[in-house]
Each structure stands twice: as structure tokens, then as C-alpha cells.
Symmetry: C2
Subunit: 114 residues, 2 copies
DNA sequence: CAGTTAATTAACTATTTAGTTAAATAAATA
DNA sequence: TATTTATTTAACTAAATAGTTAATTAACTG
């Protein structure tokens, strides 16, 4: 398994449970139990997912009494966004999708003199 | 391993060789040998990476004589870009980075009367 | 048709991943 | 101090990943 940061980030995101955990953290800090609640999965499984997210620096953790709250650390997502930049011209220019096609039609109509 | 499309795409991108292959395809269609050339890796290893990219629908393949040219199919990247949307407000608003901090300072100076 | 080039498939291996249950640790509370 | 709550660690397993070499397939070329 590759050790570079971008690979680690993509790897961490390649799991629906971990993406759901991140999404859940967009509304603020959560305990491990809070985060585990929606999933039909043991606590140790959640602990492992949190370790993957923490190693990828997508979350940060602290201590409050017996709790180990997690919060979102979104910076690695910025790196993905920047990596994506070189591909935007390809997928944004695409005519494969209906809405893109319709947008193109609309633009032509806007420029119409008659 | 999760079967959902977004996980498959992230998984495919979680490897530097595969990302380099995609990047190489931004300049146009390439044969397998062309794509393999920069890597210190056997041909079957490259074939496997191409299979991963093809299953993730990040590349498309055709046939020309004994060649099996590959071309970029960027649509799944659009899905990642859309998934990212919910996180942009977090990393774009970040003050963790020096350039963001400097931008903030600059804005204050621009608004100065003296 | 024999040989060469391009690429894939088969068979194998080592490592990683994603989950489990049972036990251990940390901190609060009765 | 004993018990409960929150979480992690240990030990294990099954499946997936990423690579290898050797053999095979496909198509061109002399």
C-alpha cells in the first residue's frame, strides 16, 4: 500500500461508513458512541474506521472525561480538490449529460438576436 | 469491500501508479506499453491497474490491431467533485494555512483609510 | 506459415483490510 | 472501593490488493 498523503486520503474515503462518519461530523464534534449509533457494526469496527480517518488527518480527536470526541479536519480534502483541478476541463466540458446539453442550448438562445 | 460507485472511484484513485496513468491519459489515447513505460513494474501489474481503472469507469478501452488503447473517461471524477461540495465551506474557510492568513491581512489593509 | 510484438490470463505469494468476540483500560458514579 | 460507561487493544479470520513469473492469446510481418 502506497504511503503518499493523497493515496492515504483517497483510501480513507473509499468506504461508505467512513464517508458517513465524516458527513456526520459536519454538524460538529461527536463522541465515538454518537458516531457508531447509525451503523450495524461493533464498536471496535468503528474505532478502526476512526483510526483510518485519523491517520489520513481527516479527523482530530480530544479527551473529555471518558469520551474521545472527534471533529472534522477538512484540509486533506483541499488537496484532493487541487488534484482534481487538472481534470475539471474534461468533465466540465462533457456533453454526455443532459443538463450540460440543455445548458448549451440555453446559452445559444440567450445569444439569439431574433 | 464496498460496491458503491463512489467507493470504487476513490479506491481506484488511492494508488499513485493509477493516478499517474490517468494523468498520462490527459494528453490523449495511449497503448498499454506507452502507459507502462514510466514504471518499474511488470506488464501484468499494469494490466491489473488498467482493469481497476476500467471497472471504476475512469478509462475506456478499444482495439487497434494488436494494441488495446486506453482513453480517459472523466465522468466519475465529476461525482467526486459533487461529493466534495458539502465540505468546501470547511476547507475554503480555513485559517490553518499561511496564504489564507495573508489574504485576510491583505483584505484588512485594502480597507484601510490611512 | 514461422516468428515477433502487444497484451492478457493463470497461478502463486505477501500484505492489508474490514470485520468479529473477548479482554483490558480510563474515568465517572453509587 | 465496586460498578458502570466509554472506548481501545488483542487475537483471530476471510477477503481483497498488489505484485511476481510463466504461459497463452491475438494480430501483424517476413
Amino acid at each position: 500500500m502506497p504511503a503518499d498523503q493523497l493515496s492515504t486520503t483517497f483510501q480513507a474515503l473509499a468506504d461508505p461508513t467512513r464517508r458517513a462518519i465524516l458527513s456526520s461530523l459536519t454538524t460538529g464534534e461527536k463522541t465515538v458512541s454518537d458516531l457508531a449509533e447509525p451503523f450495524d457494526m461493533s464498536m471496535p469496527a468503528i474505532t478502526k474506521h476512526l483510526k483510518v480517518l485519523e491517520k489520513a488527518q481527516l479527523i482530530e480527536r480530544s479527551r473529555k472525561a471518558q469520551y474521545r470526541p472527534c471533529r472534522l479536519h477538512p484540509e486533506p480534502l483541499k488537496d484532493i480538490d487541487e488534484w482534481m483541478e487538472q481534470y475539471r476541463k474534461f468533465f466540465e466540458a462533457s456533453f454526455d449529460r443532459l443538463d450540460d446539453y440543455l445548458k448549451q442550448i440555453q446559452t445559444k438562445e440567450d445569444n439569439n438576436d431574433g
